[in-house]
């Protein structure tokens, strides 16, 4: 490292370095800037093509945000999304953790093949699945109920998260489980007291990931839910803030910002671990 220091700190390299980083920062932060500035602009300011879109040409206003909260059931949608999201996360953890662990510990090629097969089910798109699934939902009597989403969403969060967790569990040496079993625990006890705490990064990844999948899901939520009070954010916003060819840009941007900001913050806290989650097992 020390020998290479000179090249890393040379001015030309620093320009390239900061240039590249700035480009990525702009790329990542721009949508948020756009959402915030648009949310507080007057409609006239937004619609005039001669205005500079990056600044306030007219004084900022709260009208759009007010319209979002008072003219639509946005708070209800947020609550619905969170409610479905939390339940799906719980179901996903309950199923994917033992599944991923089992796959990781299955000896030989069997575990690997099963893992790939399970992952493949994740690749079947909802646009194909929603037709048969809607029959299942009506059979279960869950039409127009948030429970329909709670039942359907795990069908894609579980396989993906099981596969993700498999990677995490694989890198945990079986030795420490065996040591725990010798030290006085059952296999299940060793799993709970040693394996789970060590794979906390994997569990966090699973939680964030399945929650994100749920908040952005559109097709199922649109098909299975018909009452506006039961919409999730991803369906409610385009349904109520796009009327015919009239777009309520300001309110839409406010809605998107409020829904996406907490998740962006979460990602930022765990970004290192999240990346580790996707790359475990990639290199020995």
């Amino acid at each position: 490292m020390s020998a290479k220091r000179g090249t890393v700190t040379s001015p030309a390299w620093r320009v390239v370095h900061f240039g590249a980083i700035s480009a990525f920062v702009l790329f990542a932060a721009f949508p948020f800037f756009w959402m915030v500035i648009s949310a507080f602009k007057q409609t006239l300011d937004l619609m005039n093509p001669n205005n500079n879109p990056f600044v306030f040409n007219l004084p900022p206003t709260m009208v759009q945000v007010k319209m979002l909260f008072e003219g639509t059931e946005y708070t209800k949608w947020l609550w619905n999304t969170a409610w479905v999201g939390i339940l799906v996360v719980i179901i996903t953890l309950l199923l994917a953790v033992p599944l991923g662990y089992g796959l990781a510990r299955l000896s030989g090629k069997t575990g690997e093949r099963l893992g790939i097969m399970i992952f493949l089910t994740y690749l079947v798109p909802p646009t194909i699945l929603f037709i048969p699934l809607s029959r299942v939902i009506s059979y279960l009597g869950l039409t127009d109920s948030l429970w329909s989403l709670v039942v359907v969403y795990p069908s894609f969060t579980v396989p993906f998260c099981a596969w993700l967790l498999m990677g995490f569990f694989k890198v945990i040496p079986p030795d420490i489980e065996e040591a725990a079993m010798i030290d006085g625990l059952s296999r299940f006890g060793a799993f709970v007291r040693v394996v789970l705490p060590v794979s906390i990064a994997g569990l966090l990844t699973t939680i964030i990931f399945s929650f994100t999948l749920v908040t952005q899901e559109f097709v199922y939520a649109l098909t299975f839910i018909s009452s506006s009070s039961k919409f999730t954010v991803s369906v409610g916003v385009p349904t109520f803030l796009v009327r015919g060819d009239v777009y309520f840009w300001g309110s839409m941007m406010a809605a998107c910002f409020i829904a996406s900001f907490p998740i962006a913050v979460l990602y930022n806290f765990f970004v290192d671990r999240f990346i580790a989650g996707f790359t475990v097992g990639a290199v020995k």
């Binding site: 040496p173 030795d175 420490i176 065996e178 040591a179 725990a180 079993m181 010798i182 030290d183 006085g184 625990l185 059952s186 006890g189 007291r193 040693v194 705490p197 060590v198 906390i200």
Partner: protein
């Protein structure tokens, strides 16, 4: 403290006999070493005694009690793994306290017992650290402290020194032996390193192909190997094994010395040794060559200690000798020891 008995123990993985019908009995307080090349079944045998692997057939008794159906936690054992298997998310203190907590030991007594175990291995000042902040040698001590803290009746050690560097390994070996002497717990130690085995074991079990080849004290297995496998596995360089017409002849490289270097000439078998190459290792010289007139086609290695001041020229023939009782004879087909069949001409 406990005796361990293993009866007709067998473990099959599919068609592979990892452990193939082993009988052993280990005495109370004994330090037993399972020695063999990788894949000989020694680790599988240890894991079956620990209860981590279920035997296909046979019985395991610890302290006279059949433990076949007992889970590892009920066998009153402690194990040190090659990787040390420390819990990475816990401090050293919590690692050592873990077996006590897991077994529901009275809470008040835990700190004192952890500190006593830590003091035994001189790691008191690391108690607050995480395993990843420790060196290999320190981790190994933590693993040992964790193993002793609950006062097990049986210690199982699976190559605990193999991740240490060479210098540290010798030190750790000495400490380990002293420590076992002090607490006197029955110990089973798995290694592929013959020096560790010779240095540590009260008895050595030499294994190969899932079977026990020989059980005995280090001197017995070294001096009186029961077959060519044991003879060829122990010693560095190993015993010279020369295939003759009716049997295989063996002798140790360090027992075959220039005729004049022997203290007494009694009972010596002199042989002509033709030297091809000389390697000077400092403490000894290794001579590569062949027995000129008796086994001209078999390679022979000789280890001459530095105390022998003689010049050896490659290509020359010298008169070497070995004591008659140091020459071992093995059956050509089975490799087992047989009665002496002298091939030399008595003078």
């Amino acid at each position: 403290m406990a005796t361990v008995t293993v009866r007709q123990l067998e473990k099959r993985f599919g068609d592979v006999h990892a452990v193939d019908g082993i009988d052993l009995s280990i005495q109370e307080g004994e330090f037993l070493v399972l020695l063999g090349p990788s894949g000989c079944g020694k680790t599988t045998l240890l894991r079956m005694i620990a209860g981590l692997e279920r035997q296909t057939r046979g019985d395991i008794l610890i302290g006279g009690q059949v433990v076949n159906d007992l889970p590892p936690r009920a066998r009153k054992i402690a194990m040190v793994f090659q990787s040390y298997a420390l819990y990475p998310h816990m401090s050293v203190y919590d690692n050592i306290a873990f077996p006590l907590k897991a077994q529901g030991v009275e809470k008040r007594s835990i700190p004192e017992r952890v500190e006593r175990a830590a003091a035994m291995f001189g790691i008191e000042r690391f108690l607050k650290r995480k395993p990843r902040e420790l060196s290999g040698g320190e981790r190994q001590r933590v693993a040992l402290a964790r193993a002793v803290v609950r006062e097990p009746s049986l210690f199982l050690l699976d190559e605990p020194l193999s991740n240490l560097d060479a210098k540290l390994r010798t030190l750790a070996r000495d400490e380990l032996k002293q420590f076992q002497r002090r607490i006197g717990t029955t110990t089973i130690y798995v290694t592929h390193d013959q020096i560790e085995a010779m240095g540590l074991g009260d008895r050595i079990v030499v294994m190969s192909g899932g079977k026990v080849r020989q059980v005995g004290s280090p001197q017995e297995v070294y001096d009186e190997p029961e077959d060519t496998f044991v003879a060829g596995f122990l010693g560095s360089p190993p015993m010279n094994l020369l295939r003759g017409d009716n049997c295989t002849v063996g002798f140790r490289p360090e027992r075959f010395l220039p005729l004049l270097a022997h203290e007494s000439q009694e009972g010596l078998v002199p042989l002509w040794f033709r030297i091809d190459r000389v390697e000077d290792l400092g403490s000894a010289r290794l001579l590569y060559g062949s027995l000129h007139d008796t086994f001209p086609n078999e390679k022979v290695i000789v280890s001459v200690p530095f105390t022998v001041h003689m010049d050896f020229t490659p290509g020359e023939v010298y008169e070497f000798a070995v004591k008659e009782k140091e020459i071992k004879f093995f059956d050509k087909e089975t490799g087992r020891r047989t009665e002496p069949r002298p091939f030399w001409v008595r003078r």
